[in-house]
């Protein structure tokens, strides 16, 4: 149940039986394909989710960087991001386990919308906890969840963002654990969540590894993915971990600065792997953005989807063991990368994924001749944010959008 020193099951006693029940279900259904669970999961991801997603050679980026750049197109998964891989897996598992209801947290809304879609598809009552601040800045995602029939429960505590939503979802789960499954949104939380979510997401790297070999006859020199909680990261990396020739780069949100303001309890970044320290949050020992005393920081990134003070324990372990290299890309470089891919390749990436693309821009010379970058989601959801943030900065890559009536 651990990855080196990371992981574990640090949860209230009331949840331990549920966590162990889930562990049992994970082993039987996911690892052993009992009752054909994995077959059904894969079939539904194909027919409902749109898998496999393509691995696309990015011709113009390849020219720009003078090497072969391939994009793994998770933006084409139903719902617009890799999130459904996990949400569908967990909701289906909840059904196999006989649960009657699911709850989930959401920050930017991507996991919430994916869970709501999966729950509608599988006819499972669903409630999503979402911070009040996030609700007000991510209205379209709230609409989508409501359209899919999910309840959206506002969380007013604290800064009203992801951390508080997770806390509140855990409280709900602790109250309703006998009938309810908590669909956690990343490779975080108590065992077996980090392994299970990784296994559901591992399809990204499995496909990409086969596809890049088919397209080029060999393995890539580097694989690059953004890292917040880390589900797209581990999903992309997992199949490549045994390939020692393949360098793995986890690109974190450098935000506006890597310095922490401990007095204010603020980290103006989400660079947990790069700058965090060991501790326990939301059920697992991992790397955290925390004060010397152990209080969790408010993290920050222009990408709400990366904005989390923790990270998956498996990633923490792979970084500690040297297998994965953590790097950072700041808000400005991510915004530039958002515009660059939109304009050069006709793919509008999620702001999360734009961090991976920003790393490519500034460090492509370190990445070898053949690079795979995971485009974890599409950027439609980020348009308003990007416009606002771009205007503040006067970025050169940005288009003028003032075609409206004055």
């Amino acid at each position: 149940s651990t990855f080196g020193d990371y992981g574990g099951q640090y949860v209230p006693e009331a949840l331990m039986p549920a966590v162990q029940e889930l562990e049992d279900a994970y082993e039987r259904y996911v690892l052993e394909n009992e009752d054909g669970f994995m077959d059904e999961f894969r079939r539904r991801m194909r027919e409902f989710g749109g898998r496999p997603t393509p691995l696309q050679r990015a011709d113009r980026l390849s020219d720009r960087y003078d090497r072969d750049i391939y994009l793994k197109r998770e933006d084409l998964v139903h719902g617009g991001a890799h999130k459904l891989n996990n949400a569908l897996g967990q909701v289906l598992l909840a059904k196999y386990m006989g649960k009657e209801r699911i709850v989930a947290e959401t920050g930017a809304g991507q996991h919430g919308t994916a869970t709501a879609m999966a729950a509608a598809h599988l006819e499972m009552p669903c409630e999503i906890y979402m911070g009040r601040t996030d609700i007000n800045r991510q209205r379209p995602n709230v609409y989508r969840m409501r359209m899919n029939g999910a309840e959206v429960n506002p969380v007013d505590a604290g800064s009203g963002t992801l951390k508080e939503a997770i806390n509140e979802t855990m409280r709900d789960w602790a109250t309703t654990v006998e009938t309810t499954h908590y669909v956690i949104g990343s490779i975080v939380g108590p065992h077996p969540f980090p392994k299970m979510v990784r296994d559901f997401q591992a399809v990204i790297g499995q496909e990409a590894r086969d596809q890049v070999r088919e397209a080029t006859g060999r393995l890539p020199d580097s694989v690059v993915a953004c890292a917040g909680g880390g589900s797209n990261t581990m999903g992309t990396f997992h199949a490549f971990v045994p390939d020692e020739s393949v360098a793995l780069y986890a690109v974190e949100a450098g935000g506006s600065s890597l310095e922490i303001d401990a007095d204010a309890g603020l980290a103006p970044n989400s660079a947990t792997l790069s700058t965090g320290t060991d501790g326990v949050l939301h059920g697992a020992m991992t790397r955290l953005l925390q004060s010397d005393e152990g209080q969790i920081m408010e993290s920050h990134s222009v990408s709400a989807g990366l904005d989390y003070a923790g990270v998956g324990p498996e990633l923490a372990h792979l970084v500690e063991s040297g297998r994965v290299t953590p790097v950072t890309v700041d808000d400005d470089a991510a915004l530039e990368a958002f515009h660059r891919l939109s304009e050069l390749e006709g793919v509008i990436p999620a702001l999360e994924s734009s961090h991976a693309l920003g790393y490519l821009e500034h460090h492509h010379e370190d990445l070898g001749d053949l690079v795979v970058v995971n485009v974890s989601g599409r950027g439609d959801k980020d348009l308003e944010t990007v416009l606002e943030e771009t205007e503040k900065r006067d970025l050169e890559a940005a288009p003028d959008v003032e075609v409206f009536d004055g």
Partner: protein
């Protein structure tokens, strides 16, 4: 507060190393429960609204008849707490409460009731320079704390903390939930010291209007274990305490009802909630005692209730 055992408080309670019924040596905590059965265990959040006020409040609870006092050391992500204690924790954090200042406060307290610290695991890990539980436990022992309760630390992950507590003579209290059963229950009950914190219902902390019948069931399956059992989650009135003790508990844990009193009085004045806390403690202790009376009358015809 020193760690020297004290005998005889102003209400005649007995603290510290007593003698177990099986002849073994009880801890401060266990003695406080056994010898004051039915024991009243009170919780407030340290630093709400200030550590100075907390000092006054602890003494008021002590005067009011609390047999054990849990002090919450605030953590920014209190996933096991309901809205009342979450709010207290936020007030405490905003007041700038730190573990170091918390320990200094406790070090200066002089109560009859032993004091336990209740906090989340990350706070314990981070007290020293590395992620390690030992510096926290060592300091806790130094300032005279008698035990530790960690709402997000199940018995399975408690090895390092259990070892450190044993080394320093501190109790480590585990929670038993309504969902805790079978081998896990055995394991927890074999590792718990001080008392077993019996969670009356699923969910988070918080005062509720009635006490679950689950309490009775929960206690029934614990009778075979020798360790004292105290019931918490939802106790707010003397009558709740009576019911719980009647159901077989050795102690009653009250938190949110006290935190409500602290919150109602706010930060104006010099520990303005002290008198009310003392009175509430008295009410609850009386309720608990009433439950004992009822409990002992269990085999006789049901008495008229006043």
């Amino acid at each position: 507060m020193s760690r020297e055992p004290q005998v005889g408080g102003d209400d005649g309670r007995v603290q510290a190393s007593g003698t177990k019924s099986d002849g073994g040596s009880d801890s401060d905590v266990e003695s406080a429960i056994r010898q004051n059965r039915p024991a009243l265990i009170t919780y407030i959040t340290a630093g709400d609204p200030s550590l100075e006020a907390t000092g006054e409040y602890v003494e008021a609870l002590d005067r009011g008849g609390a047999d054990l006092i849990e002090l919450g050391l605030p953590f920014s992500e209190p996933i096991a707490e309901g809205p009342t204690i979450q709010a207290a924790i936020n007030r405490s954090l905003e007041a700038g409460t730190t573990p170091a200042a918390f320990f200094d406060l406790v070090d200066g307290l002089d109560t009859d009731a032993p004091i336990l610290v209740m906090t989340y695991y990350n706070m314990i890990l981070q007290f020293g320079p590395e992620a390690d539980v030992r510096p926290f436990v060592e300091r806790a022992a130094d300032v005279g704390l008698s035990g530790i309760i960690v709402p997000d630390l199940p018995a399975e992950e408690a090895g390092p903390l259990r070892a450190a507590c044993d080394e320093h003579g501190l109790d480590l209290v585990f929670i038993v939930a309504p969902t805790t059963e079978g081998e896990r229950l055995d394991r927890i009950m074999s590792r718990v010291t001080g008392f077993a914190y019996v969670q009356a219902r699923l969910g988070t902390t918080g005062a509720r209007a009635d006490v679950s019948t689950a309490t009775h069931d929960g206690l029934a399956r614990l009778t075979e274990y020798d360790v004292p059992k105290a019931v918490g989650f939802g106790v707010s009135e003397g009558d709740h305490a009576a019911e719980i003790v009647e159901a077989g508990a050795d102690g009653v844990i009250v938190g949110s009802a006290l935190v409500d009193i602290v919150a109602d009085h706010g930060a104006d004045g010099d520990a303005p909630a002290a008198a009310d806390l003392e009175a509430k403690a008295r009410e609850l202790k009386a309720g608990a005692r009433r439950g004992t009376t009822d409990d002992r009358a269990e085999d006789t015809p049901e008495p008229e209730q006043p």
